[in-house]
Symmetry: C2
Subunit: 182 residues, 2 copies
Protein backbone atom coordinates (compact mmCIF):
# COMPACT_ATOMS: atom_id res chain seq x y z
CA UNK A 1 0.00 0.00 0.00
CA UNK A 2 0.86 3.62 -0.41
CA UNK A 3 3.17 5.36 2.03
CA UNK A 4 2.61 9.09 1.45
CA UNK A 5 6.08 10.10 2.59
CA UNK A 6 6.53 13.35 0.81
CA UNK A 7 2.87 14.36 0.95
CA UNK A 8 3.24 16.67 3.91
CA UNK A 9 6.08 18.57 2.25
CA UNK A 10 3.94 19.32 -0.77
CA UNK A 11 1.02 20.80 1.15
CA UNK A 12 2.18 24.42 0.50
CA UNK A 13 1.72 23.77 -3.23
CA UNK A 14 -2.03 23.84 -2.61
CA UNK A 15 -1.75 27.63 -2.35
CA UNK A 16 -0.78 27.63 -6.04
CA UNK A 17 -3.85 25.65 -7.10
CA UNK A 18 -6.84 27.73 -8.14
CA UNK A 19 -10.26 26.52 -7.05
CA UNK A 20 -12.90 27.22 -9.71
CA UNK A 21 -16.52 26.60 -8.66
CA UNK A 22 -19.04 25.14 -11.11
CA UNK A 23 -16.54 23.89 -13.71
CA UNK A 24 -17.00 22.03 -15.98
CA UNK A 25 -20.59 21.76 -14.69
CA UNK A 26 -22.60 23.37 -11.89
CA UNK A 27 -21.85 21.95 -8.46
CA UNK A 28 -18.35 20.73 -9.28
CA UNK A 29 -15.34 22.42 -7.67
CA UNK A 30 -12.48 22.28 -10.17
CA UNK A 31 -8.88 22.25 -8.93
CA UNK A 32 -7.01 24.23 -11.57
CA UNK A 33 -3.35 23.25 -11.70
CA UNK A 34 -2.39 25.76 -14.40
CA UNK A 35 -1.63 28.33 -11.71
CA UNK A 36 0.82 25.84 -10.21
CA UNK A 37 2.39 24.95 -13.57
CA UNK A 38 3.23 28.54 -14.43
CA UNK A 39 5.08 28.97 -11.12
CA UNK A 40 8.55 27.70 -11.92
CA UNK A 41 9.42 26.89 -8.33
CA UNK A 42 6.12 25.16 -7.70
CA UNK A 43 6.39 23.13 -10.88
CA UNK A 44 9.95 22.07 -10.08
CA UNK A 45 8.95 21.07 -6.52
CA UNK A 46 6.14 18.97 -7.89
CA UNK A 47 8.32 17.05 -10.38
CA UNK A 48 11.09 16.65 -7.80
CA UNK A 49 8.65 15.29 -5.21
CA UNK A 50 7.35 12.69 -7.66
CA UNK A 51 10.91 11.85 -8.71
CA UNK A 52 12.05 11.37 -5.11
CA UNK A 53 9.31 8.82 -4.62
CA UNK A 54 9.83 6.98 -7.90
CA UNK A 55 13.63 6.98 -8.30
CA UNK A 56 14.08 3.92 -6.03
CA UNK A 57 11.62 1.98 -8.21
CA UNK A 58 13.94 2.37 -11.21
CA UNK A 59 11.21 2.52 -13.86
CA UNK A 60 12.09 1.92 -17.50
CA UNK A 61 9.08 3.87 -18.71
CA UNK A 62 6.59 6.49 -17.57
CA UNK A 63 3.10 6.23 -19.07
CA UNK A 64 0.93 9.35 -19.29
CA UNK A 65 -2.66 9.73 -20.42
CA UNK A 66 -3.86 12.35 -22.91
CA UNK A 67 -3.99 15.26 -22.39
CA UNK A 68 -3.01 16.42 -18.88
CA UNK A 69 -0.99 13.30 -18.12
CA UNK A 70 1.29 14.48 -20.93
CA UNK A 71 2.16 17.52 -18.83
CA UNK A 72 3.64 15.56 -15.94
CA UNK A 73 4.68 12.19 -17.37
CA UNK A 74 7.43 13.34 -19.73
CA UNK A 75 8.96 15.82 -17.26
CA UNK A 76 9.07 13.05 -14.67
CA UNK A 77 10.48 10.61 -17.24
CA UNK A 78 13.23 13.10 -18.05
CA UNK A 79 14.06 13.51 -14.37
CA UNK A 80 14.09 9.73 -13.81
CA UNK A 81 16.07 9.01 -16.96
CA UNK A 82 13.19 6.89 -18.22
CA UNK A 83 11.35 6.81 -21.54
CA UNK A 84 7.84 8.15 -22.00
CA UNK A 85 4.85 6.35 -23.52
CA UNK A 86 1.69 8.27 -24.43
CA UNK A 87 -1.71 6.66 -23.82
CA UNK A 88 -4.06 8.34 -26.26
CA UNK A 89 -7.61 8.85 -27.39
CA UNK A 90 -8.66 6.63 -30.31
CA UNK A 91 -7.22 7.25 -33.76
CA UNK A 92 -4.26 9.37 -32.71
CA UNK A 93 -1.51 6.72 -32.68
CA UNK A 94 -0.24 5.76 -36.14
CA UNK A 95 1.03 2.19 -35.56
CA UNK A 96 -0.87 -0.93 -34.35
CA UNK A 97 -2.46 -0.38 -30.93
CA UNK A 98 -4.06 -2.15 -28.00
CA UNK A 99 -7.42 -0.62 -27.00
CA UNK A 100 -9.40 -0.48 -23.81
CA UNK A 101 -12.94 0.79 -23.47
CA UNK A 102 -14.10 1.77 -20.00
CA UNK A 103 -17.12 3.26 -18.26
CA UNK A 104 -17.34 6.89 -17.21
CA UNK A 105 -19.94 8.36 -14.89
CA UNK A 106 -21.88 9.24 -18.03
CA UNK A 107 -21.02 7.23 -21.14
CA UNK A 108 -17.85 5.48 -22.21
CA UNK A 109 -14.29 6.31 -23.12
CA UNK A 110 -11.55 4.49 -25.04
CA UNK A 111 -7.77 4.60 -24.67
CA UNK A 112 -5.05 3.28 -26.95
CA UNK A 113 -1.39 2.41 -26.59
CA UNK A 114 1.08 1.28 -29.26
CA UNK A 115 1.52 -2.50 -29.12
CA UNK A 116 5.29 -2.12 -29.29
CA UNK A 117 5.45 0.64 -26.66
CA UNK A 118 6.48 -1.68 -23.82
CA UNK A 119 8.75 -4.71 -23.79
CA UNK A 120 7.54 -7.57 -21.58
CA UNK A 121 8.96 -7.24 -18.07
CA UNK A 122 9.67 -3.51 -18.24
CA UNK A 123 8.84 -1.59 -15.07
CA UNK A 124 6.41 1.23 -15.71
CA UNK A 125 4.83 3.97 -13.66
CA UNK A 126 1.56 5.54 -14.69
CA UNK A 127 1.19 9.28 -14.17
CA UNK A 128 -1.77 11.62 -14.41
CA UNK A 129 -2.72 14.99 -13.02
CA UNK A 130 -5.80 13.80 -11.16
CA UNK A 131 -7.07 10.67 -9.45
CA UNK A 132 -10.85 10.97 -9.26
CA UNK A 133 -12.94 7.82 -9.78
CA UNK A 134 -9.95 5.87 -11.05
CA UNK A 135 -11.50 4.64 -14.29
CA UNK A 136 -8.85 6.09 -16.61
CA UNK A 137 -6.02 4.86 -14.41
CA UNK A 138 -7.49 1.35 -14.12
CA UNK A 139 -7.90 1.16 -17.91
CA UNK A 140 -4.29 2.23 -18.38
CA UNK A 141 -3.12 -0.44 -15.93
CA UNK A 142 -4.95 -3.06 -18.02
CA UNK A 143 -3.41 -1.79 -21.25
CA UNK A 144 0.08 -1.84 -19.76
CA UNK A 145 -0.39 -5.33 -18.32
CA UNK A 146 -1.69 -6.63 -21.64
CA UNK A 147 1.72 -5.71 -23.09
CA UNK A 148 3.60 -7.49 -20.31
CA UNK A 149 4.52 -4.46 -18.17
CA UNK A 150 5.29 -4.67 -14.48
CA UNK A 151 3.33 -1.89 -12.78
CA UNK A 152 5.80 -0.20 -10.44
CA UNK A 153 3.21 2.34 -9.26
CA UNK A 154 0.71 5.04 -10.12
CA UNK A 155 1.40 8.71 -9.39
CA UNK A 156 -0.93 11.69 -9.30
CA UNK A 157 -0.60 15.36 -8.55
CA UNK A 158 -4.07 15.68 -7.01
CA UNK A 159 -6.23 12.96 -5.46
CA UNK A 160 -9.90 13.54 -4.68
CA UNK A 161 -10.07 11.19 -1.70
CA UNK A 162 -13.86 11.32 -1.43
CA UNK A 163 -14.26 9.68 -4.86
CA UNK A 164 -12.32 6.61 -3.67
CA UNK A 165 -10.56 6.00 -6.99
CA UNK A 166 -7.76 4.38 -5.00
CA UNK A 167 -10.04 1.44 -4.27
CA UNK A 168 -10.12 0.57 -8.00
CA UNK A 169 -6.32 0.33 -7.92
CA UNK A 170 -6.12 -1.67 -4.70
CA UNK A 171 -3.28 -4.00 -5.53
CA UNK A 172 -0.91 -1.29 -6.76
CA UNK A 173 1.22 1.36 -5.14
CA UNK A 174 -0.70 4.64 -5.48
CA UNK A 175 1.02 7.89 -4.58
CA UNK A 176 -0.53 11.37 -4.76
CA UNK A 177 1.14 14.63 -3.87
CA UNK A 178 -1.97 16.53 -2.79
CA UNK A 179 -5.20 15.28 -1.27
CA UNK A 180 -8.61 16.91 -1.16
CA UNK A 181 -11.56 15.82 0.97
CA UNK A 182 -14.26 17.64 -0.95
CA UNK B 1 16.99 34.50 -37.91
CA UNK B 2 17.53 30.97 -36.78
CA UNK B 3 21.02 29.56 -36.31
CA UNK B 4 20.57 25.78 -36.20
CA UNK B 5 23.66 25.19 -34.06
CA UNK B 6 22.88 21.88 -32.46
CA UNK B 7 20.91 20.53 -35.42
CA UNK B 8 23.69 18.39 -36.81
CA UNK B 9 24.23 16.67 -33.44
CA UNK B 10 20.62 15.57 -33.33
CA UNK B 11 20.58 13.92 -36.74
CA UNK B 12 21.11 10.41 -35.25
CA UNK B 13 17.79 10.82 -33.43
CA UNK B 14 16.07 10.40 -36.79
CA UNK B 15 16.83 6.69 -36.53
CA UNK B 16 14.47 6.58 -33.56
CA UNK B 17 11.60 8.17 -35.48
CA UNK B 18 9.21 5.76 -37.16
CA UNK B 19 7.94 6.68 -40.61
CA UNK B 20 4.33 5.59 -41.11
CA UNK B 21 2.97 5.89 -44.67
CA UNK B 22 -0.62 6.97 -45.30
CA UNK B 23 -1.36 8.32 -41.81
CA UNK B 24 -3.64 10.02 -40.92
CA UNK B 25 -4.75 9.98 -44.57
CA UNK B 26 -3.53 8.33 -47.78
CA UNK B 27 -0.50 9.98 -49.30
CA UNK B 28 0.81 11.50 -46.07
CA UNK B 29 4.04 10.20 -44.54
CA UNK B 30 3.71 10.49 -40.74
CA UNK B 31 6.81 10.97 -38.60
CA UNK B 32 5.99 9.04 -35.44
CA UNK B 33 7.95 10.37 -32.48
CA UNK B 34 6.61 7.83 -29.97
CA UNK B 35 9.47 5.50 -30.82
CA UNK B 36 11.87 8.29 -29.87
CA UNK B 37 10.01 9.16 -26.67
CA UNK B 38 10.18 5.63 -25.29
CA UNK B 39 13.96 5.56 -25.76
CA UNK B 40 15.24 7.14 -22.57
CA UNK B 41 18.56 8.23 -24.03
CA UNK B 42 16.93 9.64 -27.16
CA UNK B 43 14.34 11.52 -25.14
CA UNK B 44 16.97 12.97 -22.82
CA UNK B 45 19.13 14.05 -25.78
CA UNK B 46 16.17 15.78 -27.33
CA UNK B 47 15.25 17.77 -24.21
CA UNK B 48 18.91 18.59 -23.54
CA UNK B 49 19.42 19.83 -27.11
CA UNK B 50 16.42 22.15 -26.83
CA UNK B 51 17.60 23.29 -23.39
CA UNK B 52 21.11 24.05 -24.64
CA UNK B 53 19.63 26.35 -27.26
CA UNK B 54 17.11 28.08 -24.99
CA UNK B 55 19.02 28.43 -21.70
CA UNK B 56 20.80 31.63 -22.84
CA UNK B 57 17.43 33.19 -23.64
CA UNK B 58 16.42 32.90 -19.97
CA UNK B 59 12.68 32.32 -20.58
CA UNK B 60 10.24 32.82 -17.74
CA UNK B 61 7.69 30.53 -19.33
CA UNK B 62 7.40 27.74 -21.86
CA UNK B 63 4.12 27.56 -23.78
CA UNK B 64 2.97 24.24 -25.22
CA UNK B 65 -0.01 23.42 -27.41
CA UNK B 66 -2.43 20.57 -26.77
CA UNK B 67 -1.78 17.70 -27.06
CA UNK B 68 1.72 16.81 -28.28
CA UNK B 69 3.19 20.15 -27.25
CA UNK B 70 2.38 19.06 -23.71
CA UNK B 71 4.89 16.24 -24.10
CA UNK B 72 7.89 18.49 -24.73
CA UNK B 73 7.02 21.87 -23.22
CA UNK B 74 6.86 20.90 -19.55
CA UNK B 75 9.99 18.71 -19.67
CA UNK B 76 11.85 21.59 -21.26
CA UNK B 77 10.38 24.04 -18.72
CA UNK B 78 11.59 21.81 -15.90
CA UNK B 79 15.08 21.67 -17.41
CA UNK B 80 15.15 25.46 -17.93
CA UNK B 81 13.74 26.22 -14.50
CA UNK B 82 10.80 27.97 -16.16
CA UNK B 83 7.06 27.69 -15.65
CA UNK B 84 4.74 25.99 -18.13
CA UNK B 85 1.59 27.40 -19.73
CA UNK B 86 -0.81 25.12 -21.62
CA UNK B 87 -2.48 26.40 -24.78
CA UNK B 88 -5.65 24.38 -25.14
CA UNK B 89 -8.60 23.45 -27.29
CA UNK B 90 -11.79 25.41 -26.52
CA UNK B 91 -13.64 24.76 -23.28
CA UNK B 92 -10.83 23.01 -21.42
CA UNK B 93 -9.47 25.91 -19.37
CA UNK B 94 -11.58 26.82 -16.33
CA UNK B 95 -10.72 30.53 -15.84
CA UNK B 96 -11.19 33.48 -18.24
CA UNK B 97 -9.34 32.97 -21.53
CA UNK B 98 -8.11 34.73 -24.63
CA UNK B 99 -9.13 32.92 -27.83
CA UNK B 100 -7.73 32.74 -31.33
CA UNK B 101 -9.41 31.15 -34.30
CA UNK B 102 -7.21 30.24 -37.25
CA UNK B 103 -7.42 28.54 -40.63
CA UNK B 104 -6.34 24.98 -41.27
CA UNK B 105 -5.89 23.36 -44.66
CA UNK B 106 -9.48 22.13 -44.32
CA UNK B 107 -11.64 24.07 -41.86
CA UNK B 108 -10.80 26.08 -38.76
CA UNK B 109 -9.36 25.54 -35.32
CA UNK B 110 -9.47 27.52 -32.08
CA UNK B 111 -6.93 27.80 -29.27
CA UNK B 112 -7.31 29.27 -25.78
CA UNK B 113 -4.94 30.53 -23.10
CA UNK B 114 -5.75 31.74 -19.59
CA UNK B 115 -5.75 35.54 -19.51
CA UNK B 116 -3.63 35.54 -16.36
CA UNK B 117 -1.14 32.97 -17.68
CA UNK B 118 1.50 35.52 -18.65
CA UNK B 119 2.57 38.76 -16.99
CA UNK B 120 3.33 41.59 -19.43
CA UNK B 121 7.01 41.58 -20.36
CA UNK B 122 7.69 37.95 -19.50
CA UNK B 123 9.93 36.13 -21.96
CA UNK B 124 8.26 33.04 -23.37
CA UNK B 125 9.26 30.27 -25.73
CA UNK B 126 6.66 28.32 -27.67
CA UNK B 127 7.24 24.59 -28.09
CA UNK B 128 5.53 21.94 -30.19
CA UNK B 129 6.44 18.57 -31.59
CA UNK B 130 5.99 19.54 -35.24
CA UNK B 131 6.29 22.61 -37.43
CA UNK B 132 4.26 21.94 -40.55
CA UNK B 133 2.28 24.83 -42.10
CA UNK B 134 2.84 27.01 -39.03
CA UNK B 135 -0.80 27.92 -38.41
CA UNK B 136 -0.95 26.62 -34.84
CA UNK B 137 2.35 28.25 -33.94
CA UNK B 138 1.35 31.59 -35.48
CA UNK B 139 -1.93 31.54 -33.55
CA UNK B 140 -0.07 30.82 -30.32
CA UNK B 141 2.30 33.72 -30.99
CA UNK B 142 -0.71 36.02 -31.35
CA UNK B 143 -2.28 34.77 -28.13
CA UNK B 144 0.96 35.24 -26.21
CA UNK B 145 1.50 38.73 -27.62
CA UNK B 146 -2.06 39.72 -26.76
CA UNK B 147 -1.11 39.07 -23.11
CA UNK B 148 2.04 41.18 -23.36
CA UNK B 149 4.59 38.38 -23.72
CA UNK B 150 8.00 38.85 -25.32
CA UNK B 151 8.48 35.97 -27.77
CA UNK B 152 11.99 34.66 -27.10
CA UNK B 153 11.65 31.94 -29.73
CA UNK B 154 9.78 28.96 -31.09
CA UNK B 155 11.13 25.42 -30.77
CA UNK B 156 10.14 22.23 -32.54
CA UNK B 157 11.31 18.65 -32.54
CA UNK B 158 10.53 18.07 -36.22
CA UNK B 159 10.22 20.63 -39.01
CA UNK B 160 8.75 19.73 -42.39
CA UNK B 161 10.80 22.19 -44.41
CA UNK B 162 8.78 21.70 -47.62
CA UNK B 163 5.63 23.12 -45.98
CA UNK B 164 7.42 26.43 -45.28
CA UNK B 165 5.75 27.02 -41.93
CA UNK B 166 8.82 29.02 -40.95
CA UNK B 167 7.74 31.76 -43.36
CA UNK B 168 4.64 32.42 -41.24
CA UNK B 169 6.91 33.05 -38.26
CA UNK B 170 9.41 35.21 -40.13
CA UNK B 171 10.18 37.78 -37.47
CA UNK B 172 10.88 35.25 -34.70
CA UNK B 173 13.70 32.92 -33.84
CA UNK B 174 12.62 29.45 -35.00
CA UNK B 175 14.69 26.44 -33.99
CA UNK B 176 13.98 22.82 -34.95
CA UNK B 177 16.02 19.78 -33.97
CA UNK B 178 15.24 17.65 -37.00
CA UNK B 179 14.42 18.65 -40.57
CA UNK B 180 12.67 16.67 -43.29
CA UNK B 181 12.51 17.59 -46.96
CA UNK B 182 9.57 15.40 -47.89
Amino acid sequence: MNTPRAGANCEPLKRLIREVPDFPVKGVLFYDITTLLKDRLGFAMLIDALAEYYLPKKPHLVLGMEARGFIFGPALAYRLNAGFVPVRKPGKLPAPTARKEYELEYGKNTLEIHRDAIEPGQRVIIVDDLLSTGGTAAATVELAKSLGAKIAGLGFVVELDFLKGREKLGEYDVYSLLHYDH
